[in-house]
Symmetry: C2
Subunit: 330 residues, 2 copies
DNA sequence: CTGAAAGCGCTTACAG
DNA sequence: CTGAAAGCGCTTACAG
């Protein structure tokens, strides 16, 4: 520590720079001036080692990079997380895991990283049942999930979410109210709670209306799967008159397929999405969709983690408002 | 180090785990087994401190989070970087800086981080002249830029790029060849070399064709600026018959404004974009645009940095191929 | 309010 | 091929 040249010991310098309570104002002032003049920046590794805190948090996205970054909702969550963390003293460590298989290569690489002390806390952007190990990560580190984890654990996991089931039900009910009778759904990946809940909501609304909940085709939140799902619906159920897609990306793709097949949207087939992400407004027919405050949710995730790290008491789950946004597609 | 229980010293454990050359096969095997059984993961801070290497690299995006993550080209670059780094032993540290001002708060926070030894190298996703300090970061750390830096420095900076000027010129020439005569441009931010080069390319093509290069309105790569630019062009030059937008996001927004104004695309006004990002195919009229292999460029950036870190000799600049992709808009 | 000293958990010349 | 020892650059009880 060259800053010893300020005329005090390293201990004092350390304390002054870290703004500890019991240091005289004048010393703090002086030390900081000298440090600034010398362009001194404490070595982070040494600091971590000595203080047992890394002052960094990880944002884990357990999806192959390509997929993760193609989803505008996830991107918005990231933006929110990034914004909130930036305002803190913490550093953001992005970790996109391309594992795929259960506990495969990349995933265990990820596990090793998280166990190596590089971060003080973890944010999980989306979780699949195949990534069950994430559910127990909180035995080691504070963790906050975006979206309800796939399973309830005993010490529960913190999470931020919307009422997926209720919101989906309201969206489908809008279709029912506008006179649709053959309402299909293109689902999200079966191993994610948000997707499952949205399908349940679709079923709820149809059942309540006395309509059959049979037109269900699987998707995985990607545009390709949305297009494929829509094609299949048209082939197998040409009389379909409405589609609830579990996210906007799939809804936008479905709209494209419909238009290309000569079906008018919404007059022939109405389409509702979920997320109200950028995909909703740029779709060929602007989407009626469920607004989910994705960026705000990212901020809340980060904020919750930061508060846990600060030792505050925070609620285990935070459910934010969602609402149906009416545009042209339904 | 609890793994001393393997019957050897810490030194040997360290060497075995790090796969150093001069350790007997049997020892390596044994130590690794014991370590795996005990779930031992070396502390990264201690390792960094002792070895003077962090085994992490930073991806710096000197844009406000909102902006950065709204640009599909940058997202693709990120995906490429992430993919390549994932395959290495390095960790990816994402740093989105919202500074804005010259050397302001967030920017100096960023500078401190980079100086604190958290990373062994830096990737810069996009650079503005206002971020001049980035140009000299290579005095301290290996750095690779995405896109030619705004200024030539003496020890030059490494970068990956496309021939923005040539590609833009070819794109505009396509408009000229198809009979357009009043060809406007909506530019990117004036403080970025890629934007400047694309405007030059537009000018080149018009000059070569003996057409006036006067219809130039400023944009900043955002959808809003593209829409605003298009509105302004329509108001001030209602006879415009083609537009070269410096990126797809602006081009897609321009298409929307044109359609809403009752102009047919491309028959009334042709539109060409740049990037061939996801915005090109999802535009209301699929965009004719300059394909830039964004994800590949991200991979190359990462790969170049990794090779520098490995001590290899690498070329200062790598220019990848771009090509005009014809779709419906021009 | 400030010093002197120990220690965080590894790696790495230096011997052997 | 492996040990013993020093040291990486900080923080933090412990005294005073």
């Amino acid at each position: 520590m060259v800053a010893v040249e300020a005329g005090v010991t390293r201990s004092t310098v350390s304390r002054a720079l870290n703004g500890e309570p019991d240091v005289s104002k004048s010393t703090i002032q002086h030390v900081r001036e000298v440090a600034a003049r010398m362009g001194y920046v404490p070595n982070r590794a040494a600091r971590s080692l000595a203080s047992a805190r890394s002052m960094a948090v990880a944002l884990v996205i357990p999806e192959p990079g390509k997929l993760a970054l193609a989803d505008p909702h996830l991107i918005a969550v990231m933006a929110g997380v990034s914004r909130r963390i930036e305002q803190s003293d913490y550093l953001l460590n992005l970790m996109v895991s391309s594992d795929g298989a259960s506990g495969g290569g990349a995933s265990s690489k990820l596990q090793r990283y998280l166990a190596s002390g590089v971060v003080d806390g973890v944010l999980v952007a989306s979780q699949h049942t195949r990534d069950a190990w994430l559910l127990h990560l909180h035995d080691t580190l504070p963790v906050v999930f975006g979206g309800r984890p796939s399973e309830l654990t005993d010490p529960p996991n913190y999470f931020i979410d919307v009422d997926n089931r209720g919101a989906a039900s309201a969206a489908v009910n809008h279709l029912v109210q506008s006179g649709r009778r053959r309402i299909a759904t293109i689902t999200g990946p079966a191993d994610m709670s948000a997707a499952e809940d949205r399908t349940e909501g679709w079923r709820d609304a149809l059942t309540a209306a006395g309509l059959p909940a049979t037109l269900e085709v699987p998707g995985d939140f990607t545009a390709d799967s949305g297009a494929e799902g829509m094609r299949r619906l048209l082939a197998e159920h040409p009389d379909v008159d409405a589609v609830f897609a579990a996210n906007d990306v799939m809804a936008a793709a479905a709209v494209s397929v419909l238009l290309d097949a000569g079906r008018a949207v919404p007059s022939d087939v109405a389409v509702v999405g979920f997320d109200d992400s950028s995909a909703a407004s740029t779709a060929r027919v602007p989407l009626t969709t469920v607004n989910q405050p994705s960026e705000r949710m990212g901020e809340l995730m980060a904020d919750t983690l930061l508060r846990i790290l600060a030792g505050d008491d925070v609620p285990v789950s935070t459910v934010v408002e969602s609402r149906l946004v009416r545009r042209a597609s339904a």
